[in-house]
Symmetry: C2
Subunit: 208 residues, 2 copies
Amino acid sequence: MSNFQVCDGDISETLLFDYLTADGLAVDTETMGLLPWRDRLCLIQICDPKGQVTAIRIAKGQKEAPNLKQLLEAPNILKVFHFARFDIATIRYYLGIEVNPIFCTKIASKLVRTYTGKHGLKELVQELEKVELDKTSQSSDWGNASNLSEDQLNYAANDVRYLLNVQKKLVSMLEREDRLELAQQCFSCLPVMVTLDLLQFQGIFEHH
Amino acid sequence: MSNFQVCDGDISETLLFDYLTADGLAVDTETMGLLPWRDRLCLIQICDPKGQVTAIRIAKGQKEAPNLKQLLEAPNILKVFHFARFDIATIRYYLGIEVNPIFCTKIASKLVRTYTGKHGLKELVQELEKVELDKTSQSSDWGNASNLSEDQLNYAANDVRYLLNVQKKLVSMLEREDRLELAQQCFSCLPVMVTLDLLQFQGIFEHH
Ligand SMILES: Nc1ncnc2c1ncn2[C@@H]1O[C@H](COP(=O)(O)O)[C@@H](OP(=O)(O)O)[C@H]1O
Ligand SMILES: Nc1ncnc2c1ncn2[C@@H]1O[C@H](COP(=O)(O)O)[C@@H](OP(=O)(O)O)[C@H]1O
């Protein structure tokens, strides 16, 4: 794979300074499952606008990653996720990082692709980038960090590789439909949703 | 009923200046049903810390209420609702009023009364104020504004009469459990939820 590297625990200073020059970064995580308080964070993938992908292996018991923290909290760099609610919860829970500012391609898709109910990353990349993502490694053992297979690393890289292009196209659509501001308002609610999720509150905004 | 008055369309200037001296107001609405875009707003009830209750009848087709707008948008007066999400939607939809700042006793109750699943106004008033609310008029015809029954007006007044006391007690509990800031963060998400509700978006923050 071109433009792809794997690091352990954090990104280097050199990589940090390079990524800090980006105005937007695609970010994704791989974990042991869907419950942050049970299922540990294993991998964080980042892709910049030049297509430079880094996968950072997070060790069991690791509690911080200072360079990643500086990058993911940098107020002038937009962090683009697909279903940000999950990734920012696990990143906050395991590394104490308050990711900000945030763009979520799943929320953007739901707000503007009102002609479909399919808002998975695979469908988005297919419709907007005409690329077929291979999702076979999605449910695999990400805990075995030092021995990730080529397929797994490929999968992890592809989950961020197309995201900035998808985001740009969604922004154009949101602008066209006058929903960009609403999308930004939704993104600004995400840190609150994550706090509620991590406390295991459910349905706080519902009537029932 | 003491301290209770009914007005048509808006509050008077005199009443506005009186209410503008309050630091908090309890607010509730009665409508023709639960769908704002179908079921019109019929009544808005307000109660100040002195226990002064006003019920404002909203006419069919009415599009504004300038004094109410000034009051409900006053940045230094907290507007306390039970299930604010519904009331601020109908008030925005019918009168173009952006209620702010907001406190919701249902959200506060869910965040701090974690020992129960009962977060209805009746249960809250019962536990915190030791008062038994009569809810028989809840589902009644509020569209017949000029002929509201004594029971209906009593019901409408009682829905706001205990709310500020309930709110104060919930604030103490939230402070005790270190959840007041979280509550305020939730309240700040409410205008966004309302925008989504009025556009009939559902599950924007969910994975599915
Ligand atoms: N209940 C759930 N079901 C499936 N995926 C969920 C989920 N809650 C969070 N996710 C996350 O959402 C991503 C999939 O989104 P989508 O289905 O829209 O493509 C997954 O990330 P990965 O693809 O990095 O594993 C997964 O981690
Ligand atoms: N799905 C729903 N079911 C019942 N009440 C709902 C509702 N959605 C909004 N509401 C509002 O929530 C209030 C009742 O809240 P609770 O059940 O917690 O006491 C009602 O106000 P009113 O009491 O002014 O009619 C009603 O207007």
